[in-house]
């Protein structure tokens, strides 16, 4: 089915999350807009300070009350931003679920795994005790935990890292959410286990028709797992589009630089392309484009004027004043290499 024909389940419009004093706020997420369709996997990729994790947490409202969320977050047509804690709690866990990077700190070490799944089911469904147990076994099976029935009574520390991550996914899936927010779920895992977990997430998304927003810093993970990707820098969007386009034919100088600094198709032991400088801290962002200080094709207006997301073709958007120069600059480099 064509991606465009599937219904949009999440529509984020001009999301803005800030912290600190209202007079001098630290803007962690600045005017971010994107859509996610049913069964689609969207990747949010960026480095430290990019705002990708805060974006996820803003969707579920768990940055409040320290953070202030503005804009619109339309979940199946309903705006989540003005909802109070009580209303949000009914959405969390039941319709939108979230998994985190460190399973050991997101699982309660004092409760058995079975109990934790049961808890979620009790909170969000009407199943009775026996039905909850059966569903718990079903979920553990679904996420690939061998001998699921016997493991209900085990505590989180009795599972390995990869298994714990699967347990967290099982808990998240308990009430059949339609959207899964995954905040760097595999960053702390070994490569072979990461591979298993990502394949699992892909399969679940396919089989359950569940949309996924996957936050990561690894372009490879994005390439392998996501249908669409949004690149973030300094709390703002640089570029969005189908994965194949953004990875294979990037247009924003940051995306281009990032992809170019990954060693592939370069002669071994030669200097890698590197973006000069380091990711910015939130209190030192210019009024214009956040990437100005490190950009090889920055012009005089870049520091003062924010580039807005402009469409390239039907499915892609890029926020840059000097798209053409960027393309030329990096193609020349590639030819030189």
């Amino acid at each position: 089915m064509n991606q465009l024909e599937k219904e949009t389940v999440l529509d984020v419009r001009h999301l803005r999350t800030e912290f600190g004093l209202p007079e001098r706020p630290l803007v962690a997420v600045d005017d971010v807009s994107f859509q996610v369709r049913a069964g689609e996997i969207l990747g949010l990729v960026g480095e430290s300070g990019s705002g990708k994790s805060i974006t996820l947490r803003s969707i579920l409202g768990i940055v409040r009350p320290r953070g202030r969320v503005g804009g619109e977050i339309l979940w199946k047509g309903r705006d989540l931003v003005p909802l109070d804690e009580g209303a949000l709690r009914r959405v969390r866990g039941r319709e939108i679920a979230m998994i985190f990077q460190e399973p050991m700190s997101s699982l309660n070490p004092l409760l058995t795994v079975g109990l934790q799944i049961s808890e979620n089911l009790a909170a969000h469904t009407d199943l009775d005790g026996k039905a909850r147990k059966a569903r718990a076994i079903e979920l553990l099976d679904m996420v690939g935990i061998p001998a699921a029935r016997n493991r209900l009574g085990d505590y989180p520390h009795e599972f390995s890292g990869g298994m714990r991550q699967r347990v967290m996914i099982a808990i998240a899936l308990a009430s059949n959410p339609k959207l899964l927010l995954a905040d760097e779920p595999t960053t702390a895992l070994d490569v072979t286990i990461q591979d298993q977990i990502l394949r699992l997430i892909q399969a679940l998304s396919r089989d359950l028709g569940m949309a996924v927003i996957l936050v990561t810093h690894d372009m490879g993970v994005v390439a392998e797992t996501c249908d669409r990707v949004a690149v973030m820098y300094g709390g703002r969007l640089c570029e969005t589009g189908p994965t194949a386009d953004v990875i294979g034919d990037a247009r924003h100088p940051y995306s281009l630089g990032l992809l170019r600094s990954i060693p592939r198709d370069v002669a071994p032991r030669t200097p890698l392309y590197s973006i000069p400088g380091a990711p910015p801290s939130l209190n030192a962002l210019p009024a214009g484009c956040a990437f100005t200080a490190r950009c090889p094709v920055a012009g005089p207006e870049c520091r003062d004027v924010r580039p807005s997301l402009e469409a390239i073709g039907r499915l892609r958007q890029v926020a840059c004043h000097h798209r053409e120069e960027a393309l030329v600059h990096f193609s020349a480099r590639e030819a030189a290499q």
């Binding site: 480095e47 430290s48 390995s160 990869g162 298994m163 070994d190 490569v191 072979t192 286990i193 990461q194 591979d195 298993q196 990502l198 394949r199 892909q202 399969a203 810093h217 690894d218 372009m219 490879g220 993970v221 390439a223 392998e224 797992t225 994965t243 194949a244 990875i247 294979g248 630089g257 990032l258 992809l259 600094s261 990954i262 060693p263 592939r264 370069v266 071994p268 032991r269 030669t270 200097p271 890698l272 392309y273 590197s274 973006i275 000069p276 380091a278 990711p279």
Partner: protein
């Protein structure tokens, strides 16, 4: 480098049959119950030669023993059995002045930029200490050398009198490199030097390392889990699984045609940047066995798709296959898939 060329040159570092076992602390109840001591077998018979001026990459997943190996080489652990020879002389039991002599030849850089520098000492203090303790320079020469070292790692002039927390992660790793270089070593051990850094910063530090190696003729042991980086940086690569080398060979050859089933799975699992190369099934199933309880025979047989009865019984030795060496009974048939 062909096999015969390697044998002709003398290795800088020679490791033979290295075992490292850590005993877990026993509780009083364990002692009273007479339970046997639990032993973590971190290294199980490592044989390795490191040639002068080469970069040897060491890859493997967590718990495979690569960090333990690095620390044994740097002198932080005393191996349980086996030998490490530097320029022909054993360095296992060195004490006092001879130990310090070895430290001047082999230095180490650490993974965590936040804890690898003493937070209460300025950069100048840290470097001066290393220089003066080993009497590398005297009087005014010490501070001149400090400035030289900071130049070498491309840190700005004012950096010397700042404290570690005033620097970014990438800069701190450079300070770590400067500290290691202050002793003018022949060999550097880099234990996950860039793993904790943002992607755009990793390339900067890697480039610095390459440049320093070329200019100073250093031998580098590059321990990492990022396969792409290791491939780019190394002349030769060794793959470790459960404390033993399962494959070693020239970097390009090993990465384009891995022989050992684990190497193959590792490379297949690593996220590819090509969105068309997508798999549904994970490259490797199962979990890493606990190093408390290493399987008999070939340690990989539990997860190996090609395991036979022979594999369960007999541990394969590291033997020449193709361009490098592999520890697999069936390397000729499995390899080069």
């Amino acid at each position: 480098m062909s096999q015969s060329m390697q044998e002709a040159a003398t290795p800088l570092l020679s490791i033979r049959d290295l075992f490292m076992r850590f005993e877990k602390r026993r509780s009083l109840s364990d002692t009273l119950a007479g339970r046997p001591r639990q032993v973590v077998s971190a290294l199980n018979g490592v044989d390795l030669d490191v040639m002068p001026a080469e970069t040897l990459g060491i890859v493997g997943e967590s718990g495979c023993g690569k960090s333990t190996l690095a620390r044994c080489i740097a002198g932080l652990h005393r191996p349980t059995s086996g030998d490490i020879r530097f320029e022909g002389e054993s360095v296992i039991d060195l004490k006092g002045a001879r130990r310090r002599g070895y430290n001047k030849r082999v230095q180490m850089m650490f993974q965590d930029p936040y804890t690898s520098l003493n937070p209460r000492m300025t950069v100048r203090d840290t470097l001066r200490e290393a220089i003066t303790v080993h009497r590398m320079r005297e009087g005014a020469g010490v501070d001149r050398r400090v400035d030289e070292l900071l130049d070498l790692v491309r840190l700005p002039d004012g950096a010397a009198d700042k404290y570690p927390h005033e620097f970014s992660g990438g800069q701190r790793q450079r300070i770590g490199i400067a500290r290691a270089l202050s002793l003018e070593p022949t060999c550097l051990v880099a234990d996950e030097l860039v793993s904790a850094l943002d992607v755009s910063v990793q390339a900067q530090v890697v480039n610095l390392l390459l440049e320093l190696q070329d200019n100073l003729g250093l031998t580098v042991l590059f321990v990492a889990h990022d396969l792409r980086l290791v491939r780019h940086v190394s002349h030769r690569v060794a793959v470790i699984y459960l404390g033993a080398i399962v494959e070693i060979g020239p970097s390009e050859a090993l990465f384009s045609k891995p022989m050992h089933p684990y190497s193959q799975a590792l490379l297949a699992a690593a996220p590819s940047l090509d969105p068309t190369e997508r798999r549904r099934a994970p490259a490797l199933s199962g979990e890493l066995p606990s190093p408390l309880d290493i399987p008999p025979g070939c340690p990989f047989h539990v997860r190996c798709p090609h395991a036979t009865e022979l594999c369960r019984r007999e541990k394969p030795a590291l033997r020449p296959v193709g361009n490098g060496m592999t520890a697999c009974h069936f390397a000729e048939t499995i390899g080069g898939a």
